[in-house]
């Protein structure tokens, strides 16, 4: 592409056909987070104490461990989309844009994978 007018540079490229996907997914995960994080806060607040055995015992139960795995997927998806929008607004240099793109496409997946593995280790009774 040359350095033509703004219209000339995009003409013929067409629509990406995914204009609403990002928007809709951030709303869906937002509703999921309302349910999941409310469950997490209320459950933790109602624990009798925060000793290791108490908290680990709570996480190991089926409903909390399922909720926590869903939290790892849902919050990291939602956070990834929100951070992406923030970076799109504030990062304008080509080099830092690539760094930002790597950040939002790698770090959330690593974090979620670590979180899910930790929940599984607790739920399935490993050391």
């Amino acid at each position: 592409m040359g350095n033509g007018t703004s219209l000339g540079r995009v003409r013929g490229l067409g629509s990406s056909h995914q204009g609403t996907h990002h928007w809709l997914t951030s709303r869906l995960t937002a509703v999921g987070n309302l349910v999941l994080i409310t469950f997490l806060i209320v459950s933790l607040a109602l624990l009798p104490d925060y000793a290791y055995a108490t908290v680990r015992g709570w996480v190991a139960r089926p409903l909390p461990s399922i909720a926590l795995i869903l939290i790892m997927i849902n919050t990291f998806t939602h956070a990834r989309m929100g951070v992406q929008v923030m970076l799109e607004d504030y990062v304008h240099e080509e080099g830092t844009k690539i760094a930002a793109w790597l950040l939002v496409n790698i770090v959330p997946f690593v974090g979620a994978a670590f979180g899910i593995l930790s929940v599984l280790r607790i739920a399935l009774g490993g050391a």
């Binding site: 709303r27 937002a30 987070n33 925060y50 979180g115 930790s118």
Partner: protein
């Protein structure tokens, strides 16, 4: 974007506008969202990772974030940890409330100036009250 290199006239930013509730809530939504994304999810992973690794790891997590036992550094970070934890619960309540406001705005409702301002203020009032209520419940029971 070769054309964008020259200094172009830019739209007015934060320092130009007269502050109002909707503007404040919009900014808070972004700030709390990113705070939750970095500090909140980071702490969540530390917590669940420590819990999975065993009693000593969990004890270390608690020392650094809350109790401050075991040395000078832990005492300092434990104070910070309390500030961060209270801040994160406020950030969640604020982000959740203004998030619900966004879901309502998404269906096309709530754009009248007066109701828009009113519901913006309500999100802030809710987040402050919910944070105080949660920590009062946790610390006073």
């Amino acid at each position: 974007m070769a054309q964008a290199r020259k200094a172009r006239p830019i739209s007015p930013h934060l320092q130009i506008w007269r502050w109002g509730p909707a503007m404040l809530v919009s900014i808070l939504h972004r700030v709390t969202g990113n705070g939750l994304a970095f500090a909140g999810l980071g702490l969540l992973l530390w917590w669940i990772g420590a819990l999975a690794s065993g009693p000593e790891s969990y004890e270390t997590f608690l020392n650094y974030t809350w109790t401050g036992e075991g040395g000078g550094l832990q005492a300092a970070t434990a104070f910070l940890g309390k500030v961060v934890l209270v801040g994160l619960t406020w950030a969640f309540f604020q982000h959740a409330a203004s998030g619900i406001r966004h879901l309502i705005l998404d269906i096309g409702a709530g754009y009248e100036l007066e109701s828009n301002s009113r519901w913006s203020v309500v999100t802030i009032a809710f987040s402050v009250i919910a944070t105080i209520a949660l920590w009062a419940f946790l610390l006073l029971r």
